[in-house]
Amino acid sequence: MPAPPQNRYRLSRLTRSRPSYTSPSPCPLPSSSSEISSLVSSRSGRGTVTSSSLSEMLLKSSAAGPTKPSNYEYLPHTADIQLHSWGPTLNSALSSLTISMFGYMTDLSYILPSSSQIISFKSDSPETGVFKILDEWLVHFHTKGFVVKEMEVEVKEEVGSPGWDVKCVAKGEEFDMERHTQGTEVKAITYSNLQIHRKEDRVDLYVIIDI
């Protein structure tokens, strides 16, 4: 027989205290966007993120990038989202691609490049290489909470084989609910319609991520 449910009424030790929502009057009908955003960002006790900054952020963040000029965009897909990044070199396109994924998860302008992480691996095809860069960083995020803000990547292409030898150094910091904003969660990277277009002066990458 299973033990009796001892925890049934002992919640207090488990629940963390979050700043509670205080509205001017019960059930207010929001009249301005800042009021509405106070409804949304109800954890208004967060460090630097105030409700008005959230709404401002919302206005400018939909397409514009964080700090550096953004070489990426989000393309429509029924249930998921397609990342499209580009750059003069493969390395810069890969770097933009990674940043575009994190840009979907949080607003990168609040992320400080205060610590760094390294990943390196070998892949047996370029597609796997692109896939693994995103997958590795996604796992880093889900296990250590590390958000990539800037990334340097070095891809060594093996002579006579399609394989890649990849090394990435990323700067960013650990995700903190008090200081950072929450975007949409990325569940997984897919090979679906994964495209790498390489020209002399421009590289374009397309990846669909499951959200």
């Binding site: 299973p2 033990a3 009796p4 449910p5 001892q6 925890n7 049934r8 009424y9 919640l11 488990l14 629940t15 205290s17 979050r18 509670s20 929502y21 509205s23 019960p26 059930c27 009908l29 929001p30 966007s33 509405i36 949304v40 960002s41 954890r43 959230l54 709404s55 919302l58 939909s62 989000y74 393309l75 429509p76 897909h77 029924t78 249930a79 998921d80 989202i81 397609q82 998860m105 796992v139 995020f141 889900h142 296990t143 909470g145 609910m177 929450q182 975007g183 949409t184 969660e185 569940k187 997984a188 990277i189 897919t190 090979y191 679906s192 319609n193 397309y206 669909i208 499951d210 959200i211």
Partner: protein, 531 residues
């Protein structure tokens, strides 16, 4: 396994050969040519005839009414017009591609909420013969969010009881249940606990005191899949799962406080304890979080290798699969079951938190508030089930991806409480619309392997929603309807707006009219908590 070794031997493909060689080329036709293969059978169902795509051993079937069929066919038309760059495969083609997989039985079936997905379309049901040595299992037929599902809790409160405290209640739920990107669970778990949870499912929740004994009775599989083997779950998946146990997630996942709005089947509703109009219930929609996503990702990589080795031919590279009785197939089923257990533990943890929220708010106990689990359904899962096909009882591996099991009255696998009503089916609506409770029917058992729809299904892409909808308009709309909302991410408000989805009522009515499930209760939200 002898059959497995034979298959490896005669395929002749070296293990290093690229998997591309096992993908059949796509047929290029005009829309009119395509339509010769698609026939309307009844006002609510269509058939896709073999030949629509190469290799179909059974037809495809999809359930849509006159309004939903337009979405379906326009998607096909668009794919014929386009150049194919950056586009995606329409759901009709995906249903047909699944009908060409080895070992499929009867038909590849799609529910009214169908839309294009990864390999399989969302809303696809496909059954594979367990006794066919070539039959396959596919992670794409389950989806990334293994055992994503819906749970409904009832209360003995009425709308009037919560009217004045609705805002506080929504806030309190938001404070109790960790939601959104980067949120961490509040249930203390060590890696050892996680292994036990993966193995024991809701028995773990019960042992640790997060669930009631009677909860298990009202959950598919009693909240525990016995095939689960935590050793088949990668370290990486466990690392992702550990901090996320007891978190809701983001995207379309939510916890809602809802009101019983319409009762369509009084007898069944009474049996479920939700027969009074105005009664307050709580709906939780969540899944196996990062753990399940990683299990799916890991298996896709493994299966690509197995496909090349075993010479499995498919129409689309995304339909990664392995023979059920191969090592890869068995490993996936064991890992998937463990992830399914994780999802039940996860929903149980949130049930616990929701019960505490209500108990605190009303200064009572969850028992006194009668907060029982009405039912808990899984809509992304593969299960071994017995079905009668061509008058023969067959053991099948039924994949349901964005489709819900809906067993009829008197089925041995549904709890004793629902023996006379049929299995409760929980259909989560979209933010600010409505949700439904349905019940399973014999007709569904006979025609769709006992399956029905799972929700509204997306109609519009997320990026388009972000561009077209204004965040304030969406929130204004919700407010006008008297719905309190707490979301962690403002962008999500646009992406998840009702405008981005199909009309859940159309979807449910199609299932009702086709007879594959029956409407019992309609629920209307009054408070929404989301990632």
């Amino acid at each position: 396994m002898a059959s497995f070794a034979e298959a490896t031997g005669d395929c002749g493909a070296p293990s290093t050969s690229p998997t591309v060689s096992t993908v059949r080329p796509r047929i290029v036709r005009t829309y009119e040519e395509h339509m010769k293969y698609i026939k309307k059978l009844t006002p609510n169902s269509w058939s896709i005839l073999p030949g629509f795509v190469p290799g179909m051993s059974v037809p495809g079937t999809f359930y849509v009414n006159s309004r939903l069929e337009q979405l379906m066919l326009s998607e096909l038309r668009q794919s014929c017009d386009g150049t194919g760059v950056g586009g995606f495969i329409p759901a009709v083609t995906q249903i047909a591609n699944v009908a060409a997989l080895p070992g499929i039985v009867k038909s590849s079936i799609a529910m009214p909420d169908v839309h294009s997905g990864y390999g399989f379309s969302i809303g696809n049901v496909a059954a594979f013969d367990m006794n066919d040595k070539d039959a396959i299992v596919s992670p794409g037929g389950v989806g990334f969010d293994i055992n994503c599902g819906v749970r409904l809790l009832r209360t003995n409160l009425f709308e009037g009881d919560i009217k004045d405290v609705k805002e506080q209640l929504a806030q309190s739920l938001f404070d109790h249940i960790p939601v959104g990107v980067g949120s961490k669970g509040v249930i203390p778990t060590s890696p050892g606990d996680l292994d036990s949870a993966l193995e024991l499912g809701m028995d773990w929740s019960l042992r640790e005191g997060y669930a009631w004994a009677e909860d298990k009775e009202h959950v598919e599989e009693y909240g525990r899949m016995l095939q689960a083997d935590p050793r088949k779950v990668s370290k990486r998946a466990k690392k992702r799962g550990l901090p996320q146990l007891g978190t809701l997630g983001a995207g379309n996942h939510y916890c809602e406080i809802q009101i019983v709005d319409e009762v369509h089947d009084q007898k069944a509703a009474n049996r479920m304890g939700i027969g009074a109009r105005g009664q307050v219930v709580v709906m939780i929609h969540s899944g196996s979080r990062g753990l399940g996503h990683q299990v799916a990702t890991d298996s896709l990589v493994e299966m690509e290798r197995a496909m090349a080795r075993d010479g499995i031919t498919v129409n689309d590279r995304q339909l990664a699969c392995a023979k059920i009785h191969s090592t890869e197939g068995q490993n996936y089923l064991a890992a998937m079951s463990a992830a399914a257990n994780f999802a039940w533990v996860n929903r149980s943890a949130m049930t616990f938190l929701a019960r505490q929220t209500f108990a605190k708010m009303f200064d009572s106990t969850p028992d006194d508030l009668d907060m029982h689990v009405v039912y808990d359904v899984s809509h992304n899962i593969a299960k071994v089930e017995q079905h009668v096909v061509d008058d023969q009882l067959r053991t099948l591996l039924v994949h349901r991806k964005g489709a819900t099991r809906a067993f009829p009255p008197h089925h041995p696998l549904i709890p004793v409480d629902y023996q006379f009503t049929g299995q409760p089916v929980l259909i989560g609506g979209t933010m600010g619309t409505c949700s439904y409770v349905l019940s399973g029917t014999q007709k569904g058992m006979d025609t769709t392997f006992g399956s029905t729809c799972h929700g509204a299904g997306r109609a519009q892409s997320r990026a388009k929603s972000r561009r077209q909808l204004s965040y304030t308009d969406v929130l204004d709309n919700l407010n006008r309807k008297g719905i309190s909302i707490r979301v962690a991410s403002p962008k999500l408000v646009m992406e998840e707006a009702p405008e981005s989805y199909k009309d859940v009522t159309e979807v449910v009515n199609t299932c009702h009219d086709a007879g594959i499930s029956k409407k019992v209760v309609k629920l209307r939200p009054v408070a929404v908590v989301k990632g």
